[in-house]
């Protein structure tokens, strides 16, 4: 394992800092998993019994090997942790890792026998793989610009960390009907696909400035895509965990367990109706004692201290170099910062023709170095499978960009058509019906060529290799779903979906396309958009204005 200086945690990176109790907890959890592996190998646990236990430690059995999914709590990590992930990729995998839409990282070529050691390497940098899978409360996700964005009313990392601790090995909610995903955001602008989550929390402030929470419930994708519905308009801070407990109590008692496609909370909420579900939650709240579940202000204060602003310099406004490639990167891949003279920089993991979300060990190490040099050693993972340096001085953006370019990480496409979300698909996944990665690569190259000629603007293409919808295709402006059609890979296309404030489920445009035809179909859709668009109009807006007909016509008209 690398020596201590290698793993020195940067002083001003605002990750939650473990204390001795947190470290002891992780050590105990690894010891428990070692014991479970030993009992499995000794035949004391059946595979049926062992499976949920390994899943709750992040270990999946995929097509070719085990996959270890490592938690990156709410997508926040420091440079020492990223270096350790690079070390793990090189030591126990094939030299790369895959960042996911759940703000986690997956290692796709894991051997079971290595897992306890991998978990120990993670624990050395206060990381783990707890509850990255299984029918339990998963990694809480949040806004990759948390603590940096000027539009934030309160810091979502504070409440995401409180949820992380509350949900870790929860005695009552570890054997739920199905997985449970919570997203927290601190801004009105929904950058985290809130309404696709089982529970979505939005931080608000009352007129007196006190923090409270708007809560949506019952969102989800998969076979039955449903957008979450409003449950509470303003839950006071002290009541936060009580309300979470109440929601989970109702779900654990009444969620379906016989059919996994009907087991998510979205089905329960849909069947009971929002008001019916709310009545049950309120019944729990009425009976639940207040004091044991009260989120005390001193607790919030203690957690908030972990996420204090780093020591920003009083930076002057600067004119940036005029290099057009750099200017394009600044335009697409930086975001405004609350601190004058700073910006947030997005590192695209979507090179044209590449594999969405993959990073090599060398790239991770280069990024750790750049984060130390230009961003307080702090990084974020976004649900769009990109990385972010949240706090970069504007007068250092050019140096950062040069460093990124040297590492092959300067693709200027955040939020653009080539910034595609894709699941691992049939290249790795045991659930998949069709390949996602090569489809994504083909589409990326076509979209890039169109974009260069026609400036497509903001465009979200999302690809899933099966109905479980890990690639978020339901909420893609252009969504692509791989299916099995008489033993061959086929792809259904949906149009008009969106993940954010204008959230919508995409509509199926027509019959599916074969593996060799789907990239051409996407090009046809975009050429139709170009022919009909008004000046500056995004694909999504053109589609919503003119409807399906012109696209259908272009795709299916007999030549």
């Amino acid at each position: 394992m690398p020596e201590a200086p290698f793993l020195r945690v940067p002083e001003h990176a605002r990750t939650y800092r473990y204390d001795a109790v947190d470290r002891e907890f992780l050590a105990q959890r690894i010891a428990e998993f070692r014991g479970q592996v030993r009992r499995r190998l000794a035949g004391e646990l059946t595979e049926d019994e062992f499976k949920p236990l390994r899943l709750m430690n992040g270990l999946y059995l995929q097509l070719h090997a085990y996959m270890l999914r490592v938690a990156i709590p709410y997508g926040v990590l420091n440079s020492a942790q990223l270096r350790q992930l690079a070390y793990i990729a090189r030591r126990w995998d094939r030299g790369w890792g895959h960042f996911t839409t759940r703000q986690n990282i997956q290692f796709n070529w894991t051997r079971l026998v290595d897992v306890p050691e991998m978990l120990e390497a993670l624990a050395a940098v206060d990381m783990h793989a707890i509850q990255t899978s299984g029918n339990c409360i998963r990694n809480t996700t949040t806004d990759e610009f948390a603590g940096a964005s000027p539009d934030e009313v309160a810091d979502p990392r504070v409440y995401a960390e409180i949820l992380r601790q509350w949900s870790s090995l929860h005695p009552e909610f570890t054997w739920l009907p199905r997985k449970f995903k919570i997203a927290v955001r601190g801004a009105e602008d929904d950058r985290i696909a809130s309404r696709t989550h089982d529970v979505a929390v939005q931080l608000k402030r009352d007129p007196a400035g006190a923090v409270g929470f708007t809560i949506h419930v019952g969102g989800g994708m998969g076979r039955t895509p449903i957008l979450g519905v409003p449950l509470f308009d303003f839950v006071p801070e002290a009541e936060f965990l009580r309300v979470m407990e109440a929601i989970l109590r109702v779900y654990n008692a009444l969620g379906q367990r016989e059919n996994i496609y009907r087991a998510r909370i979205k089905i329960l909420v849909r069947d009971l109706g929002r008001d019916g579900f709310l009545a049950l939650v309120q019944d729990e709240l009425a009976r639940m004692p207040v004091e044991p579940y009260r989120l005390a202000p001193e607790v919030v204060q203690a957690i908030r201290a972990h996420f204090a602003p780093p020591p920003f310099a009083a930076a002057e406004a600067v004119a940036l170099p005029a290099d057009p490639a750099f200017a394009a990167w600044v335009r697409h891949n930086t975001r405004p910062h609350r601190q004058p003279g700073y910006a947030s920089a997005v590192i695209s993991l979507k090179p044209v023709g590449g594999i969405p979300g993959d990073a090599t060990a060398e790239q991770m190490e280069a990024l750790a170095e750049l984060a130390d040099r230009h961003g307080f050693g702090e990084l974020r993972v976004s649900h769009t499978q990109n990385l972010v340096l949240p706090h970069v001085r504007r007068d250092e953006l050019h140096a950062l960009w040069q460093g990124l370019r040297a590492a092959g990480l300067a693709t200027a496409n955040f939020g653009q058509g080539t910034d595609i979300i894709a699941c691992p698909g049939l290249d790795y996944c045991a659930l998949a019906n069709a390949r996602s990665i090569p489809i994504s690569q083909q589409i990326s190259e076509r979209v890039d060529a169109l974009d260069r000629a026609h400036a497509l603007g903001e465009l979200q293409i999302k690809i899933s290799g099966c109905i479980n919808a890990c690639g978020h295709h339901h909420v893609g402006h252009i969504g692509i779903l791989g299916v099995d059609k008489h033993g061959a890979e086929a792809y259904q296309i949906t149009l008009g979906g969106a993940p954010g404030n204008d959230a919508a489920i995409g509509e199926l445009i027509g019959p599916s396309f074969g593996y060799d035809a789907v990239a051409g179909a996407v090009e046809t859709i975009l050429r139709t958009h170009i022919a009909h668009r008004q000046p500056g109009e995004r694909f999504l807006d053109t589609y919503r204005r003119i409807g399906q007909a012109p696209f259908k016509e272009a795709l299916y008209a007999v030549a």
Partner: protein
């Protein structure tokens, strides 16, 4: 089947009676037989399925010395909520016994929800259950059991 309490195998003084005549002494019956069994001058227990809302037991709880809950499959966690509700909502102080497909990896969490005893398979080694109970001794949540009842977040700032 052997009975586990506090990590040790203990004698079981209860008879489970689904149907047929009620024997002398302590009996565990299904909810439908509570009215029949309650007037007897002997300890009374009930065995409930995991789809039963424990509120429906409320009228009987003062008379009951034991409630048995069941995990039909190891991954079906409804009983955890039933146990917690019995302790927290109803203040039930009697024995809560867990039957069905229980594995040692459930044990610590069952106890934190408020369970008392577990019906374990024949030939179970109590040492394995004791080890599973102790291996993760730190818990972040409020519990119904006497150990660490306060959430870790709160203990830290206390």
């Amino acid at each position: 089947m052997p009975l586990l309490e506090d990590g040790r195998l203990v004698a079981d003084h209860w008879a489970s009676v689904a149907d047929g005549p009620l024997p002398e002494g302590a009996v565990i019956v299904p909810p439908a037989r509570l009215a029949e069994a309650a007037p007897r001058n002997a300890p009374l227990g009930v065995s409930i399925g995991n789809d039963v809302q424990v509120d429906t037991l409320a009228p009987w709880l003062p008379r009951l010395a034991l409630v048995q809950v069941t995990l039909p499959k190891s991954k079906d966690g409804r009983a955890f909520s039933q146990i917690r509700a019995l302790r927290e909502y109803h203040g039930f102080r009697g024995e809560i016994r867990v039957a069905g497909h229980v594995i040692p990896d459930h044990y610590a969490m069952l106890l934190r929800c408020g369970a008392s005893t577990v019906v374990v398979p024949e030939g179970s080694d109590p040492a394995v259950w004791r080890a599973a109970r102790r291996v993760v001794s730190i818990a972040y949540q409020h519990a119904q059991s006497a150990e660490q009842p306060l959430a870790l977040l709160r203990r830290r700032v206390a």
